[in-house]
Symmetry: C2
Amino acid sequence: MVAKSELKLIRSLHQKKYRTREGLFLAEGVKLVGELLGAGMEAYSLYSTDPGEFPGAREISENDLKKASALVQPNKVIGVFRIPDPVSLSLDGWALALDGVRDPGNLGTIIRLCDWFGIPELLCSPDTVDCYNPKVLQATMGSVARVRIAYQPLPETLDACGLPVYGASMDGSPVGSGTAVQPGILVMGSESHGLSGAVRDRLSQTWAIPAYGQAESLNVATATAILLYEIRRQAGPVTQK
Amino acid sequence: MVAKSELKLIRSLHQKKYRTREGLFLAEGVKLVGELLGAGMEAYSLYSTDPGEFPGAREISENDLKKASALVQPNKVIGVFRIPDPVSLSLDGWALALDGVRDPGNLGTIIRLCDWFGIPELLCSPDTVDCYNPKVLQATMGSVARVRIAYQPLPETLDACGLPVYGASMDGSPVGSGTAVQPGILVMGSESHGLSGAVRDRLSQTWAIPAYGQAESLNVATATAILLYEIRRQAGPVTQK
């Protein structure tokens, strides 16, 4: 039996202001909760409809799970975790930066891409969607536990790091044309406005993905996928997982 | 004033069985409806909260638009269109095939990618999500009007076309290693099961996207983005839109 006050706390964590106030976030599903625990993240409380599966989980009824969940189809387990202390990024090799990405699904997919392509650090502008948003976490498939993420103003951070800054933009030069590329920070713009003026002023190079048809644009997550693939392709011999 | 029976018809088109029965589908938003009309698709009825914007549109109240819409935030215009007659694919150059892709957002993003990379034909297995699903249409950003899409059993169609068949799979050879590639059909598998056995039996080559980190998999839409980019990159000189 889960108390009403607990359910209320869990539900409040669907919203950023309560996550910030409580210093807690919500993760759902066997896979995601398992990945976070496996990565050493600190669970505040765990609930499962089948508590035998998760050491330390308390039983929750299907009905209460539905009430607590941010998902259309809740999946057995719900965990309340402590938001880790802010990390400080080292920014001493390839990193990705996001300039105002607002869609939770896009951010989650991008975190998963960083994990796939071995990009250890993700710098987010303060107006980028919160990485502890339940929809972001769901889309990361657990990769959120393996990528260091920090929210900092981009202009100052880019100035301080001393690395080349590469921007993705429709008006850039086509990637993949064989230019040797030094490690740096790739910045992707927001879904509706692209890169901000302050970031554009700091670009060493601007890259475009060549188009062969009539679509006006690419989704920011698919564009990120292509550019991270291309960076890794140019950087050296292809190795397999 | 929109009659209750009309609202009921529109709402019924959120579901595939009524789309099939009526031969109609729903498109929402100024951009999508405009793109479909621009591509010559036949409107059955158009509604707008600001009918001056759309010739032939009837006025609909904000309240009725909310009732009719499949979106969380309805966007001024809603159109009922006739489902075009099934197209027959020529399959005489690069084409994409989907083997049981179920997520509407993924299919919509993939249709947009075909449009971007100039892949004119998309072959879908019968168990792939319906391309006239409102969430698919929304994610296509209008590209659905520029890509020929057909639902046909993959094994027979692949056998009949006489082209090489390439499959994406984690256990394939790394793409981008410089193999010259003949035009053919790239098949992407479902989110949960990958490629079906009947498709695997027909593959000329199996491609994997090299991994550099610890993520277990890539989303099917981001994987498609990378492979279509790679096909175009290998096929010839980089040209810009």
